[in-house]
Amino acid sequence: MLKIQDVTKYFNLNTVDQKLALSQVSIDLNEGDFMTVIGSNGAGKSTLLNIIAGVHSVDQGAVLLDGKNILVLPEYRRALYISRIFQDPMKGTAPNMTVEENLSMAMARGKKRGLRKGISRGNREMFKESLAQLELGLEDRLNDKVGLLSGGQRQAITLLMSTITSPKLLLLDEHTAALDPKTGSKIVELTEKIVSDNNLTTMMVTHNMEQALSLGNRLIMLHGGKVILDLKDDQKKRMTVDGLLYEFERSRGEKFVDDRVILAN
């Protein structure tokens, strides 16, 4: 489904500030895979997601989605296939527009926009049902501006907006890190439900090792721009937080350094 082949990325190439962000990274995701991504500071986790989404270009390598090279498409053209949620709950929604308008824009993801009515009556019922499933009382607030909602509510709406059209690939960039623990675990719960209901292929960056182990069927660990651990199904099920730390220290010969890492809940 998603094939990342030998991707190398430098920042500030050919200057004194040259920095290797990703070094010959190869990842292979099958349809329906849910991969969690962990790694220490500056490991290249966000760079990897930015390359897949089209924010950054690559210096070498290829990214194939369903066999097609997506590196030639600008960010807004990849939107048809790829949804992404950010850490900052403010980033995924337009605050001065209503819940209904935000969801309607998500329905038009990647499609050609015309002079048809932006909000259709049929969609409204569907929005209400989907919102009701979030169990946050949002189904009665279709006409409220999103800016009036809490961070957790906004992130829940972003989650809905990202998945409402069943994209080929869902990218989650520490999407619960900025929320309080209770809201965060609610969003994780919703994420799991929506991903499995729609059988979405998903990549999720997280700083929470336990979360990385409990969610999904794949796990990779990045360090210094390289994949240093790639676990599948059974290997992943057997892995523990201590095991992850051991693997890291063994392969790198140094301590795992991440000022934000959460070992357990």
């Binding site: 989404a53 807004y76 824009m105 038009a108 926009r113 909000i119």
Partner: protein
Amino acid sequence: MKVGFLIASVEQGFVYAVMALGVYLTFRILDFPDLTVDGSFPLGAAIAAKMIVNGSSPLISTFMPLIFGALAGIITGLLHTKGKITGLLAGILTMIALYSINLRIMDKPNIPLLREETIITMVSGLGLPKWLPSLALFVVFALIIKLFLDWFLFTEIGLAIRATGDNPHMIRSLGANTDNMKILGLAISNALVAFSGGLVAQYQGFADVGMGIGMIIAGLAAVIIGEVVFGAGGIKRATIAVVGGSILYRLAIAAALLSGLRPSDLKLITALLVVFALSTPRVKALLSQNKTAVDG
């Protein structure tokens, strides 16, 4: 005399409301301070006036500015999105370029339209009472454009334009080309501004190359007064507030003139008005901060 003043102010309120709705589209919806307005307003006046003295039909002369205003907006949009020039500077560059272009179109700094057939004399020919034609014409135009924006801003493209001003990052991730949305918004905005310029030229009986100076501030004044007085809940409320704000602004100008100020003082008054309206929330916040500090 006083009633005449009042009617004239309301007429002006409606005809400049067309321009103010254009300013609303860039300033509020796109979050783009577009100074092209100071050039596209006289551009519309120049085109309408030149066409009329050359004997074109007043109807075509009235609507032609829409097209050229849109072109002016597109140029600012291209400078900003493709040329990567900041929005403010892109608008100023187009505005300055338009000054020369407007003089080329007009051949001279001023074209009088006295005794020419204009859209206003056309409507007057229908046998209406003397005070009615301009007013009726401008009310109709302003309302049509208000309704157009109310419809347009709720279409798929309209939602994407609004999101471009609200959260460009997000709408790009949903597959909208924000560059194109900005260019389209600027085109529509400046089309309206130029259209308003053409109407004003016919209304006041001349086009002048300097008639656009400070137009963006007059537009802002209308938008902001409207928001303060009538509120700015949804789009439909906001567009009617802009029309109302435009009328109130013209009445305030008339009052300033009646109180003995010179016409040349008006730009200063307008600037002060906008400064006051824009800084009031900030001053209020500062005052209440100090108050709590003292109280606490």
